[in-house]
Subunit: 759 residues, 2 copies
């Protein structure tokens, strides 16, 4: 493959040098209409950041998220941008000076003192250039950024990005405005290094079947390492030395094998154990014992597999007979776990603004929502290093996609060579993280709107790269695969079915996308929509620019048609928000819980989507930009508790005298056995609470739900228009669940009552 | 990948030397119980052949195929075998002497004058050893063959081969006796070569979108080629020079690029054009122009793709929504063709006996049956070179599987390294053949009885190898994939449905296996079954050993339960044979034609199976060993005619007074337009022929079937118990079709008539 698609392979890995001196730079940026034209003026540039942010700051643009202000950034797409910085040559004393960047978006040339030193296409391959031989006393470094790549002039949508390894989301999506970032988007600096330095260090390991032994191989890759010495130490979380190795290095690329760690502590997702991390320290030394370079990182031991879902081998049954569905059951360290989580999208329109603190806050919220997995959706970026460090630490699994989504990425040689460069960089970087549990080619590539197939060379190439560099982590070409499902994204489907019926009838191994739209809170809406447009929401206003109308199909994401159907016209904004958020909460709860009830055939519930890149008016997100949880966030957190009562509901809307029914369950993802519980099902409307069933469940077996009775109860006459089903667990209020449903009294009886009153 | 699984990669390709002298050897073989024990005696060995054949010949075993004689070979599985030959050292004059073999089955050591020179596991990697430096005046060459590899002692079935790249079929299958060949199975000789010789030569090409230009790269790989000269010539089928290239060679592995062939004649499968072949001659010369080595081969230009089946993108429709099925539509040179063919199994228990003549005969019969594809089923061998040369010449497409079938091949490093070696050899050898249209990992690997999944490393590895060496030929991990189907293999299904109903209701993109069992003719039965056992067939006799009973499920392959159901107990063997062959013929016709009627959503009909490795009593095969066509062969040939009348029948068994019905079609796989035809549907019973409908069809559009009317006719009173539906095409008798169906007169009426006669 190498030969065919990538004649010149520049794979630049993370510089692992901790010993060396970093020098920060101060940047400015300017733009020009053509490549050879010098920008007329330069303004201060924040690095990492984006050229658009620098210009908006310098030219005092009004807030991007308000009204339709984002449109004023449109003109910036087709310019060239020049980043410029100057620096004096430091004293090197035989050392070397490198320029290093963790990411420059998207195509660029790098000049030192007007000499072209390097060019690259691709924002996920680290840039690492030895400047030493080109240095003057005073130096000017320039990075020329090419315009937004576009396959064609129109339509101005994601299809413009069908030929590049640049995230297509910023070309416009149903929840993302058209705004395509460019520029230096990750840590960037000068670095003084010794002649001998590490380029890459990888600790490969394999766990024995019984997990009592890890066999290790250290892969050391560096410059001028021959005849140097390595010293490697692994310490556990208590600071005790677990393993050491030392020796002479015979070549720049070396392997140290034969290392064994007995009874390694295993890394677990947070809801099934401790995300145990060891500390690895590798030092490169010279004969005198002087440390020339060093890498310090956290390392975790885990085995992850995708295995067949229980019952999946029994299908298909009939002749002519096709194949069984592919596996979608995650097995960690020999344990089959139910994956609960959310689709992670870019938490900012400008990835350059995302930092460790933003990541930490959002990952912690995921953990608090009882999630154990994020699917890093292929329409967005591959996150920065700190994201993965934090997932490692917090015990959050990562389903990592490559930057392909909803396009037909071509078989052509240029695209394949860039994809190979980018994917190789990504896999070699991320395979070191125990949290990375699955590779995936990208989003919805095997559906009609994308048009890729199993024969598409980009996906065969990604399979091959993952196999080469990380063979023991699963690879899927896309999501959904056969047996897995995406959608729907509304409470009431186009055919009139509600989410309840559709989900109760569904039979899939994994629900890896499903949405439920809800309005943002008033405080957010007031920040993005002009006051006079706030109520009632109308198409063609800031509501539409913020995805409330015509974002996906018809009335999405406001779904005013569905709200009207259930509630009639809302009288004011607060009422509308409350109704929308109620549907979002109850809808999401229904899907998460039903997916769990379908365990073990079903093994995953991952909603669309977690957060959002800017404040939307209405969206499927659980968290409004930047970090505001919607009520649905809490409903979902409840639905994902390791153990909880649950009810399968046949529908949302009920009437007086109708037989209410619901199937009771205890959902249980824990591996500990426990005694049974007493559950009470109660109906509650306003002040009226009726216990309709008491169920003494059998004992809980590890990782097994218990199906209980179906309650049936003729609905009485109530005054309210809503009621609740309460599932209460005696002595375990933390396992209680509740569902809010709509109610209407018998109209005839109402009329009769009214008439009687008149009499 | 290379690094992980194959620390020492020996990929030995076909020696392409035509200039050099081959020396045939005379071999003997002996066996011993252990590796270090010398055989007590040696007997003459036929090479290529198998050790079992040599021993049986020497020890005058009775005919293998008769009765249960094959069982007497069982003891041979667990011995070591030593092949021995002696030769005098030829005069070399600075040349080199090589030992070369195209295949040694399965694991072996090679000794020259008792010195171990080479070891290998794997029968598909050519063996090519330079003996020169180890030669004495008189030499003894020995090849020690290891016993049949077995993963476990029991069960003694295909699962014993789940860890090797040896075809599992010989471990016993429902149509193959347990008999596992060992030994030298392909051409083997000594060869005198110049110091400079070719190891491999590959002409890579890519066709322009409009097929008017082929861009070529010549890959030359050899020994001592530096500073030699190459001279390459391509001539067309009329002997005219199409392209030449000459130059100096700079390294042992060299590329010549920049070559272009304008308006190349394209290679087509025989039913869509000429399988056009060019002749390529590559010569290696020294400065003086002396030819040092030469390769002559046929080359064809074609582009093959697997594209989406028409309509497949429209499914699935409902939410939650999974992916569309993978593509199964073959596109050759931009034309979507319907693939009609058969599953090719080993045409002999002992692949060593198969030669060019056997291949030629069988491939020609396939062509005459209007087949355009063979699926080379993964349970058997990868065929010898002459098979592919003949498919190239005769315009037959090849779907080539790797030797994996119905087992769970493991992720372990040893197996992966052998698979990598074997698959690399296979792909590098076969990619040169235009007939090879598809790679496939193996048979039914994603079904419960195998247990492999999309995550299995052997299949990910095969994808990676095919991508590396032959990226523009499609790769599927197995058959069936989702949307494709295997089975059923009987006329009347377990649930009582007939093949007619089951197939008419089916909705698949490709039927890549479907069987219909039939008895062999009497002449064959008499050669394999003792006279006293011939009738009636009983389990526990030679009938069972020849797969008539308990071969697959229950009564297969005789299916006496089904025969009894339709015909009652047969009175004699000839009647039984006739009934069985009728069901086979009508059943196969129904499936092939229905699959074609489902075009364009359906794109393939490939029956199970074409031939057989020994004479069976009953089998799904169309051709009885070695080359005897069953009646079904001719029925299938008719069903596969490029243009023909066709009828979709709802069932097999009809009664007097019932409304007979059938949907009329014209099946058309041709790309030429033509005027419409007049079709006449007739019913015929004994001497009574009734025309029940005349249909004037519209004009034929390229590669499109035409659906016509549904005929309905109340069945009259007939005396016979069978009748025929005739579809006659005015002026085109070669497009006529006919179907034989069962008939029963009204019983009450019969009785009444009988009573009346009595009166």
């Amino acid at each position: 493959m190498r030969n065919l698609f990538l004649p010149l392979l520049f794979i630049l890995l993370q510089p692992v040098s901790a010993m060396n001196n970093k020098i920060d730079l101060s940047w400015s940026v300017g733009y020009s209409a053509s490549k050879n034209e010098t920008p007329k003026k330069f303004v201060h540039a924040e690095v990492p950041g984006a050229v658009q942010l620098d210009i908006a700051r310098a030219e005092k643009y009004p807030p991007l998220a308000f009204d339709e202000n984002y449109r004023s950034f449109g003109w910036m797409e087709d310019n060239f941008y020049t980043y410029r910085t100057t620096f004096s040559c430091p004293e090197l004393n035989g050392q070397r000076l490198f320029f290093h960047s963790n990411g420059i978006d998207y195509q660029f040339d790098l000049f030192l003192n007007d000499k072209l030193l390097f060019s690259q296409e691709g924002m996920f391959t680290y840039v690492d250039i030895d400047l030493t031989d080109h240095l003057q006393k005073e130096n000017e470094l320039k990075i020329l950024i090419y315009p937004v790549p576009k396959l064609h002039a129109s339509p101005a949508d994601r299809t413009q990005a069908a030929h590049v390894a640049k995230p297509p989301v910023s070309y416009g999506w149903d929840w993302h405005p058209r705004l395509v970032p460019l520029g230096i988007w990750d840590d960037t600096y000068l670095e003084i290094r010794n002649e001998a330095y590490l380029i890459d260090f990888f600790m490969h390991y394999e766990l024995s079947d019984s997990f009592d032994l890890a066999r290790l191989i250290l892969w050391i890759d560096g410059n001028q390492l021959t005849d140097k010495y390595y010293s490697w130490k692994l310490t556990d979380m208590t600071g005790n030395e677990a393993l050491i190795a030392e020796g002479k290095i015979s070549a720049n690329k070396s392997q140290v094998s034969g290392l064994e760690l007995k009874n390694p502590e295993l890394w677990w997702p947070h809801d099934h154990g401790t995300p145990y991390l060891y500390t690895s320290v590798l030092q490169i030394k010279n004969k005198e014992g002087e440390i020339l370079d060093e890498e310090v990182r956290k390392i975790g031991f885990r085995r992850v597999k995708l295995v067949m879902n229980e019952g999946a081998w029994n299908e298909p049954d009939d002749f002519p007979k096709t194949r069984s569905v592919p596996p979608a059951q995650i097995e960690i360290n020999g344990h089959k776990i139910f994956a609960k989580g959310s689709n992670w999208v870019n938490p900012d329109i400008f990835p350059g603004r995302i930092n460790r603190e933003r990541y930490a806050e959002l990952i912690a919220m995921g953990k608090n929502a009882n999630f154990n997995i994020f699917r890093i959706w292929g329409g967005g970026i591959v996150n920065k290093e700190s994201f993965f460090e934090l997932c490692d630490e917090m015990g959050m699994l990562v389903w990592q996609e490559f930057p392909l989504a909803c396009n037909n990425y071509p078989d052509d040689q240029h695209y394949l060579s860039i994809l190979e460069q980018e994917a190789t960089s990504i896999v070699r970087r991320l395979r070191k993280h125990p949290s990375v549990a699955m590779w995936c080619g990208g989003n919805e590539l095997f559906n009609s709107w994308s048009g890729m197939t199993d024969q598409s060379l980009p996906l065969r190439l990604l399979n091959s790269i993952c196999l080469e560099y990380d063979p023991h982590t699963p690879y899927n070409p896309t999501s959904p695969l056969m047996g897995m499902a995406h959608g729907n994204y509304i409470f009431r489907y186009f055919d009139g079915k509600e989410v309840f019926q559709a989900m109760n009838d569904a039979h899939f191994t994994a629900y890896t996308e499903f949405g439920m739209p809800g309005l943002s809170p008033r405080s957010v809406l007031e920040k993005i929509i002009p006051k006079q447009e706030l109520f009632p929401p109308k198409p063609g206003t800031a509501w539409e620019a913020h995805h409330a109308f015509n974002a996906w199909v018809g009335a999405t994401w406001l779904c005013d048609d569905i709200l009207d159907f259930y509630f009639g016209k809302a009288k004011n904004l607060d009422e509308l928000i409350e109704q929308s958020q109620l549907l979002q909460s109850e809808g999401y709860k229904a899907i998460f819980e039903e997916a769990r009830r379908q365990k073990p055939y079903c093994s995953m519930a991952i909603n669309w989507c977690y957060q959002e890149p800017w404040p939307t008016a209405a969206n499927n997100s659980l968290i409004v930009y930047p970090d505001i949880p919607k009520p649905a966030y809490f409903a979902v957190s409840d639905a994902c508790r390791p153990v909880c009562g649950s009810a399968r509901l046949p529908k949302f809307q009920w009437k007086e005298n109708e037989y209410f029914s619901a199937d009771l369950f205890i959902l249980n993802d824990k591996f500990e056995k426990s005694a049974g519980y007493t559950l009470r099902a109660k109906l509650q409307c306003e002040n009226d609470t009726i216990e309709i069933l008491r169920w003494d469940s059998p004992a809980l077996q590890p990782n097994q739900n218990i199906a209980g009775p179906t309650v049936r109860y003729r609905l009485p006459h109530w005054q309210g228009d809503r009621f609740k089903l309460l599932i209460e667990v005696d002595g375990k209020p933390e396992y209680n669940s509740e569902y809010t449903l709509l109610y209407s009294p018998d109209e005839l009886k109402e009329k009769k009552t009214a008439t009687m009153n008149l009499d």
